[in-house]
Point group: D3
Chain length 258, copies 6
């Protein structure tokens, strides 16, 4: 499942199309988003927005696990609530774009930069990247002064802004690869990559392929989520007693990509 962790489904069709073109032929992917009751914001640029979707995200994760998905993608580059979702995901693997993209970038280079919309995003993403352990490999953040909802408005402007920021990352910050730091920056990586001659990672594609890989590893080798120590989930008894997850979570519209 590819879950846009917002209560706004306008992008779902785009992601579905991209997934259709790029998924393994034997994968079935459901693209969906949260209920609009979390708020109608089309982005998670603020910690406030992140917190507002946390409860639904965890419920959605539980639901996806119950439905038997092998893997869940949390479709936002903040990797929101990744560890929380993993705690409650049962045997379903949970992946997210930031972690997925960095793993790919660091197989191809020693230092990467992340192209973000606004300086505002940097602090939270930087904390996340440091917690993963990749802080020493981060060349820089570069922002383009655009909101999430603007990336897909005028493709020429976006392409130009992203390219210029990526170029500065390479020439001034000595980045050796570039990660597009928002799932809504989709559709641009190839052009920038060809011009700059360094790997440019699209985070949604990175997450999709890492999710397929994780699902395959789980099914073949039994490499499923740990439930030990910090990974221990609440007991089913407690879940019942506290009245949690008593009703199935209703996702937004679902697009099923076969």
């Amino acid at each position: 499942m590819y879950l846009n962790p917002v209560g706004f489904d306008a992008y779902d069709a785009f992601f579905a199309e991209m997934i259709k073109e790029n998924k393994f032929s034997n994968s079935e992917v459901h693209v969906t988003s949260l209920q609009p009751t979390v708020g109608q914001m089309d982005n998670l640029e603020y910690r406030t927005y992140n917190a507002l979707i946390a409860s639904d995200l965890v419920k959605a994760t539980r639901q996806a696990s119950t439905e038997g998905f092998d893997a869940l993608i949390i479709g936002c580059f903040y990797d929101p609530y990744l560890l929380d979702a993993r705690e409650i995901s049962g045997d379903m693997v949970v992946v997210a774009p930031c972690q997925s993209s960095i793993e790919i970038a660091l197989k191809l280079s020693n230092r990467f930069s992340v192209i973000i919309g606004h300086k505002k995003w940097e602090h939270e993403m930087h904390s996340t990247i440091k917690e993963y352990g990749y802080g020493e490999h981060l060349a820089s953040f570069r922002d383009v002064g655009m909101n999430v909802c603007e990336f897909q408005k005028d493709h020429k402007i976006t392409a130009n802004n992203l390219f210029k920021a990526a170029e500065k990352a390479v020439t001034e910050d000595f980045a050796e690869s570039v990660i597009l730091g928002c799932t809504c920056e989709f559709g641009f990586f190839q052009e920038i990559q060809e011009k700059l001659k360094v790997p440019v990672i699209d985070p949604s594609l990175a997450a999709l392929k890492q999710a397929e890989q994780a699902a395959m590893l789980k099914n073949r080798f039994g490499w499923k989520p740990s439930s030990k120590w910090s990974c221990e989930p609440p007991s089913e008894k407690d879940i019942k007693q506290f009245g949690l997850f008593s009703e199935p979570y209703q996702f937004g519209n679902r697009i099923i990509v076969n």
Copy 2:
């Protein structure tokens, strides 16, 4: 405002009593909790539970700010969503027990230990403490094998368990001060402190007094929350457009301590 960030208000009266005894005479403190719709768990021992209350916590923070509180205490030692709450708190200062306790402990000693209920808690708390910057001053976590809801059941058992863990922290991990790592470990610090002859910090009291201090500093010197860079909140225009905070948050029962 002292907010128990759970949808369970059985402890509110205890905290109200403690606050009554220890607050400044000119402070008015409202003790309350979240709506039971977040789930009826009486603890936040799991990341899942934390995520389930995030949305309400942010809404409650906004509400408290709107009502004109000078400071808000998030009454859980995980300091859940502290940075998120600070983003949306306007001119209200937000404090939390873990950060408050450590500040006090490190004025009195160079290394502290934290006494927790279960090993499970350690990973998330450790991340938080490292992000604050206090990782190098942490001697150890010591767990007593008890759930949050057990601390106030049999005081003798709890007192004994906490003392033994604190003693080991001092003698085996070379702690020089001890922090009780759960707001529900209230009522025990003084006895342990007298026996061990090291400072033993009660996190609720620490948070209460740091909140009063922060409120005073704000009113006297204008030291109110920054809204710059990573602290920038969503604009009121966006909040309106996305339909956020359109209705006042209904807290649980409120106990007003004058």
Copy 3:
């Protein structure tokens, strides 16, 4: 006690006035400085000067403790010999401006800058801040090219220099709050704060209020300095045998603020 750790008492009256305006009504504060025999320097800009006052500072700390003060403020932003003074302070809490200011700044923001007089100061202060654990939260040092003794000479020039440095810290180094990195930068925080719209912390006020808080916590909850492990002081027997502190330390002139 507010102790200017220099053998030069010209600033004492200013600090006394500031304290008079800002202390709790029930606090009694003695403002004083060291004996002129430590050298007549009016600043501690050099490690050499710091070392020259170390012996007197420790003796003064012991004396203040003997006289029964609840808390001692070491009135210099280098926080000179803070850990040493705490070792010998008995039941008296010792606080200092740098640590006190950062605690306040990080309740209101995620990253702070420090405005110093000369680049020279940075290395030692940076070491101190890293040892406290706050290195990752430090946006930058910005220096104004002024000596300690110049800050109070021409207030217009100082105000202008401090403002320009603070503005650069915010706009170029992405500071979210600003700390004035010298106790002699007093009298300027409010104006800069109003212009810049970020918290600007005055270190003397910060230290004063944190000292009052610490004294209150000690008296109410018994949270007094640890004497365990690295906090262990020399034994009274050894102190006697080695002939230490055999005579009361004679402070400089004392101004008693009621």
Copy 4:
């Protein structure tokens, strides 16, 4: 290509068999090793042995790249000369077991342990893991007191030793997943995994699947190695002038797995 970076080919057949069972149907994998002239050691337990194979490893990498392989696996858990091989690998991606295994383990857990043969191995592996950035996620190394060549001698003894070490890692070091820290520990992960109920990662399988993934990502999205800054390879002009790679590298026997 799966390259055993030793001049000893006795294990090649085992790895070929494992690869045959586990590779994608459309992958062609060549299993081979270095020339015996590097020395006849069957392990790389010493830095000395590592250094002895470095030159051949780089030549072999260049040769594999020239032959058009999409990806190369350096089949040793020390990940020997990974960055060096990547520098000269052209468009071929180079992966190695340690990095590959950790990426998988940290999708399934927050802390992992590595089971090694001897304490001796720890220092070099620990340096590598810290350089990758995973030092904070490492619970422990546990050694079983066995040489590389012993792992496949008496399977019962090995299975028992690995299990006991893994169990201690989980129960005493609080590991949430376990990585077998030598490619010659193959054949054991599933049994331990079933007993311990935590993910147990086989490093050769991890490397194989991450190599296939990397090859796929390269072919589909153009995500091939960066040659910028620290990734810049020697120029072809210099290579010619210095007489490097003038003759094709002769691998040991090759087993082609279709």
Copy 5:
């Protein structure tokens, strides 16, 4: 000059003898200590004692520089006030036992342990070692439960205690070399070294030889102390104005070793 930074000269003769046996034939070394007015303690085990000698140490450093010494050894393993002394030392190089010993140990091994008298010493020494940058190479501190003044009382007991601690450091903490963490642990390194078969560094000898080396490098290559940025000393004008160093510092008795 070898300076015992205490006001107690009973050990001077021992050090003089050791220096006589081990110095270069063309070195002239003066062994001395501070004035008894700093206090009559025979050790610096407490931060308090350290602070008490700081002023005299800086004055003594200035005096030694004025007298034209090429290098000064601060003869205590805390390396007290090393950076402060270097600031005021002019063209004289200042070295100290802890830094000197570690440099030697890390040429011969990758990890070292330090054998100290009491746990109390660890915190301050650990801070120093981390500030030098050697924290990651430190295997452990091991204490023997002895005061400084006891090391030379009963040589058999001391030898035995040091040996047992060093042995534990090697076998339990995996140290590869051992540093005796007090200049008063002199006379024991060789015996322990022979028994344990790892390098055992005597800190006084280490400091002596590094001082001779530094003096030689200064005279031959002009490698004398920097006075730039953080190394900038107070100006001579200020020194005069503040009345500093106006009289020559009177050392304790001097033993001149030719």
Copy 6:
């Protein structure tokens, strides 16, 4: 022995001359290089080149040890394979220019910069410096845009380039000392040092003198390399069995400096 770790001996005579002028009168130094079969590159600017000489370097180290040298200098600022060489060096101490230079720089200053040829060099050298523990003391790398082979071509150009880079390091990066980051930058330190008034360390001289010092310490105090834990070398039995070091390594031409 001073070993140029390349298969190119054109610089040997220069180094021999420099050593002749600067060695102790009672030292005998052999200057040599590797066999040309490692490749005819005159530099180690690429990881590839480093790897190509690794095998010969280890064999050469073993040979030098067998011949009874007290100390070996690996004459390249990358300190290539320093830990590997130390593992197999027996009782011979191995030193290298980067580590040697930093030790000297940090006795004279708190922060140093390294002047390198190309940005390309930085990543590998930075890793090495961080592993030594000196990362926090590094002010910057500054590159002059020159290859190794160009440094000795036009001395005027090189002198000018090195000076300008060193000056920027001091004025813009706040370096307090400067290290020339390539052994082929020899002959320039004194002029730059006189102009800049900060210590400028020549790495070959640093390595030479630290090697002499290490040899002396070994002979006088038995401070020879540890063979414990991570320092353990392969057993002689294994070396024999694996056919290693069965023939003496043939160095390039040797210049013997008496």
